[in-house]
Structure formats: structure tokens, C-alpha cells
Symmetry: C2
């Protein structure tokens, strides 16, 4: 399978890596990119991520085989409204958003009768880096991509989008958008929120330099994700806030129970909590 | 400087690595070990970590130059009471405990007029591994060790203990025990508690296997420390619970504020929190 023309909106880590991976698989002929940052687009051109900068959205998406929406999630609704009327009959659209309920809602609100051409996707290849300079042909190699197909999608459309991600080296699975958002609130969005919160809490202290000077490898790993893009994570948290609030409530109850155990000097309770956590974490291996 | 005889209580990651590092520096003649696990001691003998297993505590500590207490912190009070009456006049004692206020209190309560011979230390070389098999000669190389000297210590005693840790390759600094415990509650103990709490929260769910199957690198790093020893961290949390409760209170207020921002859909507030966290975490480098 080969895509003659790929149009990418947002030529950063996700979009740029998608282009590079499909190029390496010899699965794309021409890559056209749109983005807000001119220096970033010029860099992507100079590095061979893009063949051309796009000028006219309507013209570019009309004869594209595949369109990737790789902007922050918060910008996708407007983008969908702009591209939908101009999509060719065989143009497929996928995205790289980390949340799906909101993206699907935006698609229903903005893509009209072109909804069947949109196959939502979430590539699980987070990194704290951003911009075209962070793009890599092997970003998706061995990583999971979750598709959340719509009832309106044809089997063939889902297959072609699946194939595109597989050509990038990804392991593709499917969930409903709701399942997706619940799962990722728990295993991704909440940990990011908690990591940002810890660093923010320390950052406001008068003795923060002293504190940070004694921080070691545990702190380093726990807070690695607090170096992630604030704008991207603001959008993700806002987009998935219902599920995320549920997870935050659950976690705060967990901390409340730990607070009681600590206050009471209940060492057995602490050990019980730590032991189950260690067992489950020890048995987990990244797939 | 050379130590003719080193006695280690607890021949695990901390104790075993101390012995290996001093051996590599050609700074110790004989290493004698005590421990609860016979197979672990036999392993330490077979790997050349120890020269001998100790039989008689009183006799062994009497002519030792240096004694390292590397058991869990919860066992140190009893151990101090057992060794104190038998320490030679020039025997120095240090420890590897991750908390210092409780260890110092135990020393005052149990070491009597030998208190001047105890120079408390905390090597910051955490790892989720334990036992002699995890010991390594380079564990302390370039890592920090915090001494919390007592007013009773002579300048010479502090210098000799400092030198022992420096011979292991460590970068030695000094704090009061109280400063130490406040700092480490914030940058180490709280992150461990939060990491254990997240995994425990997920571990109790009916769909935990599905959740964990979609967990990726952010989760991996955030929860690496949840694979730490439950027994050790129970002891650390209990030992430092006053400072830790203070940090937990502060963090729960932080989460409360984030909860309000999320509930209100206050994207600016989230971005403000994430941005400060990213800036501070981005500028931090492990020293």
C-alpha cells in the first residue's frame, strides 16, 4: 500500500514522525505540511520531513489520500470545519490526539457528511519533546496506537488507516472512544497531572534550590513527565476532564486513606498498600 | 587512610556496596558481616563482599575501626543498644538510613556515653533492588551522601567518617538531622508514597489488566519507585512521618486547587501550574 499524497497539520513530534516513518517504509510519495510556526516548517522542509509547505488548505486536502491532524487537540474542531467541505471522495483523515471523546465530538459537530472519512487514532508515543526537531522515523516502532473507529467508518477505511499506522511500525488496537478516555485518564493523564503538581508544589517554596539539590533518581523519574508541554497537557486535561476528575477523586481518596494510616502510625496498612503496589508494578512490563 | 576492620550490619545493597567500594579503594583490610538471612550472607562471602560472617557482636565491634549500620531503620535502635557497650575507644559508627531524626533519637536513647562515636549518614543511592546480589562497587560513585553530625562528635570523627564515604566515591555534604528529614520528605519520601498510591489505586480495579496493557513510558517512569521495597519504605514513612505528613498535606492542597481548576474548566490556571513545573523541572539537573 502506498499513499500518493499525505497532508499533515501540525508538523511536530507526532506529525513529523508519521511522515518520516511512512517515508522510510516507502509508503508515501508526497508530504505536504501546514503549521503555525514558519521556522518549524522551514526546518521540516530542510530535514526532508516535508516536500512542500501547504498554502491552500482546500486544494491540498482535495486530492490527498491521507490527512493527519497532529495539532493540539484544542485546535482540531476548527481545522475539521475548514477541511471537511474540501475532502476528496477517497481522502481519509486520522489524528494523533491523546484524547478521543472530544475529538470524536468535534468531528461529529464539524465534519458533516464527511464523518465516515475520519478514523480517530491515538499513537502512544509520548515524549517531553516537541517540534519537528523531535521527530524520528522510529518513534512509533513497537509502540501502541489505539484506533477508536466510528460506526460510520467503512471496514475498508478503518483497514487503510490501520495499515498506515502499522507501516509506521506501530501495534494497532481498537477501543471505543469512551473506553479509551477512561483508560488513559488512569494510566497517563492522571500521572502527568500528579507529576506536574509535585514539581509545582516544590517550585513555590523559598528553599526550592536546596530541595532540588538533594533530589535524586527517584525524583528524576517521577518528574520526567513534568517536563512535558504545558499547552498540550492543558488541552488534554481540559478535553478529558470528566474522566480525569473521576480518577483524581479516586486518587485523592487513596491519599486520604494513606494520610489516616500515617497519622495513626498504622505501619501494617502502609506495608499492605506498598506490597500490593510493588507486586503489580513488578509484574508489569511495557508492551 | 585505611580501615583495618569494618563491621557491617545488614549486607544488602547499601552495606554490600560500601564494603565493595572500600575494597576497590584499597581502604579496608577485613570486612565482617552480620545479617538475618543466612543465604544472603553466604552469597556475600562467595562474592568477596565479606571476609567473614560475624558470630559474636561484642567481640567483633570491639576492635573494629568502623561499623556500618545498614539494616532497615526500624532495627537500628536495638542494634545500637547491643553494640554500644562493646565499642572500642576508637571505633566509629555510621549508618545508611534514609531518615535521620529517628536514627539520631535512637542513638541518644541507646548509645549512652558512646554517642560521640556515632556519625549519622544517608547515602542517596536508592535503587529498587535489595540484598547482597544488588551490591556494586560503584553504587556511590558521584552520588551524594549527607552527614548529620551530632554536637558530641569530634571534628576528627566526622572527618574520618566523611573520608570513608568519599573513598566510596561519594560527594559528602552536611545538614542537621531536621533539615535532612524535611528535605527528603519533599524530594524523596513523598514521591515514593505518591507512586505507590497510584499503582495501588489501579491494582484494586476489576479492569487492571486492561489498564496496565495501555500504560506506556510516562507510567513506567512515574511508577518505577513503586517497585521499591515495601518493608524499607514502610519504615522510612513511619520514621519520618511528621515531616512526611506535612508534605502530604501540602500536596493534597495542591491537588485540591487543581481539582477546582479542572472542575471550573480553568484552562489558564492549569497552564500556569504546568508551565512553572516544566520550567523548574527542565532547569533541574541531577547533581
Amino acid at each position: 500500500m502506498k499513499f500518493n499524497k499525505l497532508v499533515i497539520f501540525g508538523v511536530g513530534l507526532i506529525g513529523g514522525s508519521f511522515a518520516l516513518a511512512l517515508r522510510r517504509a516507502n509508503a508515501v510519495t508526497e508530504v505536504v505540511g501546514f503549521g503555525r510556526s514558519e521556522p518549524n516548517l522551514l526546518y521540516a522542509l530542510s530535514e526532508g520531513i516535508l516536500d512542500r509547505k501547504g498554502q491552500n488548505i482546500a486544494a491540498e486536502v482535495n486530492d490527498a489520500d491521507l490527512v493527519l491532524l497532529a495539532t493540539p487537540v484544542g485546535q482540531m474542531a476548527e481545522l475539521m470545519a475548514r477541511i471537511a467541505p474540501h475532502l476528496g471522495a477517497h481522502t481519509l483523515v486520522t489524528d494523533g490526539g491523546s484524547t478521543k471523546g472530544d475529538v470524536v465530538a468535534a468531528a461529529y459537530a464539524n465534519m458533516g457528511d464527511r464523518i465516515s472519512q475520519f478514523v480517530p487514532a491515538h499513537p502512544i508515543a509520548g515524549a517531553e519533546l516537541s517540534g519537528a526537531a523531535a521527530a524520528a522515523a522510529d518513534l512509533y516502532a513497537g509502540k501502541k496506537v489505539v484506533l477508536t473507529p466510528l460506526p460510520e467508518n467503512s471496514v475498508d477505511s478503518v483497514e487503510r488507516v490501520r495499515k498506515a499506522w502499522e507501516l509506521c511500525g506501530a501495534l494497532v488496537s481498537e477501543l471505543t472512544a469512551e473506553q479509551h478516555d477512561t483508560v488513559f485518564a488512569a494510566v497517563s493523564h492522571l500521572p502527568h497531572l500528579l507529576s506536574f503538581a509535585l514539581v509545582h508544589d516544590l517550585a513555590r517554596r523559598g528553599n526550592r534550590e536546596q530541595l532540588l539539590s538533594f533530589a535524586a533518581s527517584g525524583f528524576r523519574d517521577f518528574t520526567r513527565i513534568a517536563a512535558s508541554s504545558p499547552e498540550m497537557w492543558r488541552d488534554i486535561c481540559m478535553a478529558n476532564r470528566t474522566a480525569l476528575l473521576g480518577e483524581l477523586d479516586s486518587y485523592m481518596q487513596e491519599l486520604e486513606a494513606i494520610h489516616v494510616a500515617l497519622s495513626d502510625g498504622n505501619a501494617d496498612k502502609l506495608q499492605e498498600i506498598f506490597s500490593l503496589a510493588r507486586e503489580v508494578r513488578g509484574n508489569w512490563t511495557q508492551q
